[in-house]
Assembly symmetry: C2
Homo-oligomer: 351 residues x 2
Amino acid sequence: MATIRDVARVAGVSIATVSRVYNGSARVSDETRRKVRAVAAKMDYWPNGAARSLTTARTHSLGVLLPDLYGEFFSEVIRGIDHGARQAKYQILVSSSHADSDALVVASRSMHGRIDGLIAMAPDVASTAAIKQIARNFPVVLLNPRVEVEGCYAISIANFEGAHTMVRHLIAQGHERIAILKGPHGNVDAEERLRGYRSALRESGIHPLPELEFDGDFTEASGHRRAKEILALEGLPTAVFAVNDYMAIGLLSALRDAGVRVPEDIAVTGFDNIAISQYLSPPLTTVQVDAYELGQRAVQQWLLAIEPEGRSTPPRHEVLPATLVIRRSCGVARSAVPRGGRKSKRKPDGG
Amino acid sequence: MATIRDVARVAGVSIATVSRVYNGSARVSDETRRKVRAVAAKMDYWPNGAARSLTTARTHSLGVLLPDLYGEFFSEVIRGIDHGARQAKYQILVSSSHADSDALVVASRSMHGRIDGLIAMAPDVASTAAIKQIARNFPVVLLNPRVEVEGCYAISIANFEGAHTMVRHLIAQGHERIAILKGPHGNVDAEERLRGYRSALRESGIHPLPELEFDGDFTEASGHRRAKEILALEGLPTAVFAVNDYMAIGLLSALRDAGVRVPEDIAVTGFDNIAISQYLSPPLTTVQVDAYELGQRAVQQWLLAIEPEGRSTPPRHEVLPATLVIRRSCGVARSAVPRGGRKSKRKPDGG
DNA sequence: GCGTCCTATGTAACCGTTTACATGCGCAGA
DNA sequence: TCTGCGCATGTAAACGGTTACATAGGACGC
């Protein structure tokens, strides 16, 4: 591809002038501007991003480090980030599958010089030091951090409160024997939701029972598998709180196959309010969390952080609400409750 | 952050030596190597990516241009790309929401100097020229292109064949009055699937009827909405083929609410085989397409293209198969058919 | 007619690397 | 002792831009 020098030569001007044409600000006569544009178009010239970054120390891209990209949650987070970034004319440099803090550091290092900032989901507490180190180079926004990291912006979802609210709702419906389908060990969201569950039980004088806590891994398959064990309990629970919707879906499917009616025989609830949860049979009572917004707000925070004025204000930790969405699966008479809607930011998609 | 010069000064060597330490290949004495590493670690040095790209003309990142990121299809495509890229030590620079070819060109331009190649889903035929232009600078892999573009690698999904097979299956089951829930106008996948539907009907001597073709936009909501119109038809269709699973889900939900039994009163089938389709009630008969693999193979093709030997072989157009997954929603007795499985590459996820 | 100012444009240093080529040193062979 | 070679390391020129500063020429006031 042609370089700035080629264009300058052909257009009969200096490289500085060509550069000025592409950076708008400087004063160039209309005639020169037109000539340069014309030559550049003919030669298919466009400024080289790497060279630009080198001199300006701005890359116009934003690093995104996630543990995984699977499932609607991550997919929506990244969509939110992409849209937010796009609005601000930034591109995103994505790298996922970061299971531990070492991988995180390696990835962020390899992005040095390519990004103006970082949005990351830190896998564990061990990352704290590493992240603090990274944050010295450019603003870092943490998603759902397990602990506060000094000097970092953060934004998370009210997992504890959401689960707490959900379980209190079940208790208010008269349920006392409430099982939980847990998420993967070590996952922050999963752990917070479990805490919320236990806390709500205790507050109502119900002792959390280990035999009512079932391991899961956030997949439909794990929800499906655990159904058998739940049904094998002596003293069936009257409600099962799955800590995400996918597991609730697997559970619902297995219960249906086993001839167990939901919500008549057993109530089932989820967490996340994924798009299809309202179309399930029965429609799923769940907790609304807006992953898209999580991503978008992360970008907003970051944009704030790179503003000259923004640097002065101390990093904030924002928390997105998690609200109850009551549908049929938890056993409220259908007519008594309006069918829970879902904010729709979606567009028709391919595939 | 420290530069190569800082490290060289402190370590008492030249910048060339530091550079050599980081590029492995060149011969540096063990002692010097250790010293440089130690100093670099202390100073928190890492080579600047932009500067590296500038001299080497390699960026170690791969551009990804998609029209959207919404829904399981795109989410899986990008996951496949990410994993493929990660394996080859590449990062991906993502930009979505490219509705038209102009946006595509703008985005690809702004990536100039930042990427070593491009994976793109071209929105329309008008893009052909633009893409050919882009492909002169580095290898381009097109996803599901509407037309062949000379000089570009391409990979697509057998949409036509998948739809064709599905409708032939329905006809083999005795269905003759088969409705279709179409996708968005202008969407390649949607149009190919529609073609497959019509073609299969004609082959069996059934004339495609306009009144049996319903507009949709790939969302559950649109499937839900169209249910009313379908049920209002004089002469109910005995089967409805939704061109993606999301619309099938909306349709199933609406039919259930209307007291229409699936598959007894009406058969419903989808397309894509998204993760939850096997957990629906009834489990959804659909067409398996592997979006993850689409992404992964796109990266493979691109890696092939940048190999020195690879450049000599002419660009290929690969087609991924779309295979029938028969479950209960299309009306075959449950015991007669093994429950269709789904390849699982998934890992437990967050949220 | 000359100094002054303004504007459009050119010159050249610099950003942080890589790498071809130069250098200097130790050692082996004659 | 001299030549030649190999190896570790240094020097300096790119890479393709941006931008501070210099410059040239025209308009203007006196």
